[in-house]
């Protein structure tokens, strides 16, 4: 694959096919961890990290184990296994090697195990038949897109706290409505073609 293709994968993953706003993946952490910009950034970083790593490892598992043995139908199951083990491993590694990052990510790291965006990215890698580098780039930039979305939305939610809206919308309703509005803004990117 050429450099321009990698570039279009990256920009596509961040803006055009944003994981949250146009693919509806990873909506639960998007809503759950977006009440403060600080925690949203932590969650975003953790997702970037895990999505990049998961893309790399799942590519290897798929290409060198599942495909040669004609077991492509096991992809979902095998990928979940990989992701769960990977998150556990990353957690242990960070705790030992980078305690500051570990405490910054806190509870969000284990939460990613059940994040559908991570499973989504590895399955899409296979579907789009990206090569190794393409998969890793798609994973990392997909995570960056997730981070962009969640940080933007957390900023919106921090402003909502001071807004004057009808009482019946208090809590999640107003949050979902504003999520819809932010998603609408991202619709502006849809249909764009790069290169």
């Amino acid at each position: 694959m050429s450099v321009t293709e990698y570039l279009s994968i990256a920009i596509g993953a961040i803006l055009i096919n944003n994981f949250i706003f146009s693919q509806f993946l990873g909506c639960c952490p998007f809503l759950g961890c977006s009440s403060k910009v600080e925690t949203a950034t932590g969650m975003g970083l953790a997702v970037v990290f895990v999505m990049g790593l998961a893309s790399a490892i799942c590519y290897v598992v798929n290409e060198f184990i599942l495909v040669p043995l004609d077991l492509a139908f096991l992809q979902t199951l095998a990928f979940i296994l990989v992701i769960a083990a990977l998150v556990q491993f990353v957690e242990m590694f960070l705790k030992k090697a980078v305690p500051s990052l570990y405490s910054a990510l806190g509870i969000y790291l284990p939460l990613i195990t059940t994040n559908c965006a991570v499973l989504g990215v590895v399955l899409l890698n296979v579907q789009n038949s990206y090569d190794f580098l393409g998969s890793v780039i798609y994973g990392i930039t997909g995570g960056l897109g997730f981070m962009l979305a969640i940080v933007l939305f957390a900023s919106v939610r921090e402003r909502i706290a001071f807004a004057d809206y009808p009482e019946c919308f208090d809590g999640f309703p107003i949050c979902l409505i504003s999520a819809g509005l932010v998603a609408l803004a991202f619709m502006g990117f849809s249909g764009m073609k790069i290169f």
């Binding site: 004609d70 077991l71 296994l81 556990q88 242990m92």
Partner: protein
């Protein structure tokens, strides 16, 4: 054949990952501060968040680092605070034990209903239908049990349409206080055994119409109190817990029997 491969491949993957993780947990083993573990042992372990830290582990870590005081855990009580202080080698300053209290006695057949609410079992939902309550008294407990759902210690129950605290089980974590959409539930010192179980600020005549037991602000208790601890403000009697001597005179003279005394 393909089934066999599938089982073998997944089994092998699982085994490899398991072995790797077991291996990694040895390599990346991090020594936890023994103090932290010892402090954690003393805590109630309900992860109620009453201390302001993310769960009991978070609080134990903060205590072990010397960042948090030893007496923040209301759930495990003063004995635990003393133990933690001993572990940390500092003087214990035992937290005053508090319990939740619901200042409303407007149970079914006592408080007049505004409407018969049949929606979801949720105080917030019931509040949406105008008047801020399903009872005519706008100050009354709705009785859909948001506080009871929030209680991790089974100490809060809705009895005949009003939330009631089981003082023997309540640890004073304050989860119910946060859960109550009407800010009715309050934390009071456990030693405070006399309380006015009403918070209606309407004038006496109005209260008479809507509740068989609400405080009408007749001032009898205020005149009777030997310690100058009970005062009628905004047409409702209020006890100053710092002055109250628990003599119970106010409860005896109250014509509406709204002042409750708890057993010690």
């Amino acid at each position: 054949m393909s089934i066999l491969y599938a089982v073998l491949v997944l089994g092998a993957l699982g085994a490899v990952f398991g072995a790797l993780l077991a291996f990694a947990s040895k390599i990346f083993h991090v020594e936890v501060d023994p103090k932290q573990a010892a402090v954690r042992e003393c805590l109630a372990g309900a992860n109620c968040g009453g201390c302001g830290y993310p769960g009991c582990d978070g609080y134990a870590a903060a205590v072990a680092k010397g960042e948090a005081p030893c007496n923040k855990c209301v759930a495990s009580g003063p004995e635990a605070a003393a133990k933690i202080a001993e572990i940390m080698g500092v003087a214990a300053d035992a937290a005053e034990k508090k319990v939740a209290f619901v200042p409303c006695s407007g149970c079914n057949n006592v408080a007049e209903m505004r409407f018969n609410y049949t929606g979801p079992e949720d105080c917030r939902a019931a509040m949406l239908f105008g008047g801020k309550s399903n009872k005519l008294c706008t100050f009354a407990c709705i009785g859909m049990g948001n506080c009871a759902k929030a209680c991790k210690f089974d100490a809060m129950h809705v009895v005949k349409g009003v939330a009631k605290v089981d003082r023997s089980k309540c640890v004073g974590c304050g989860a119910c206080v946060d859960a109550c959409p009407k800010d009715i539930v309050q934390l009071i010192p456990e030693k405070q055994r006399t309380m006015v179980a009403c918070r209606n600020q309407d004038k006496g005549a109005q209260v008479m119409k809507i509740c068989k037991t609400g405080c009408i602000g007749c001032m009898k208790c205020q005149r009777e109190c030997p310690a100058d601890a009970i005062h009628v403000e905004n047409f409702v009697a209020k006890i100053d817990t710092s002055k109250c001597t628990q003599c119970g005179h106010c409860a005896l003279v109250c014509p509406r029997h709204i002042i409750t005394t708890f057993k010690a």
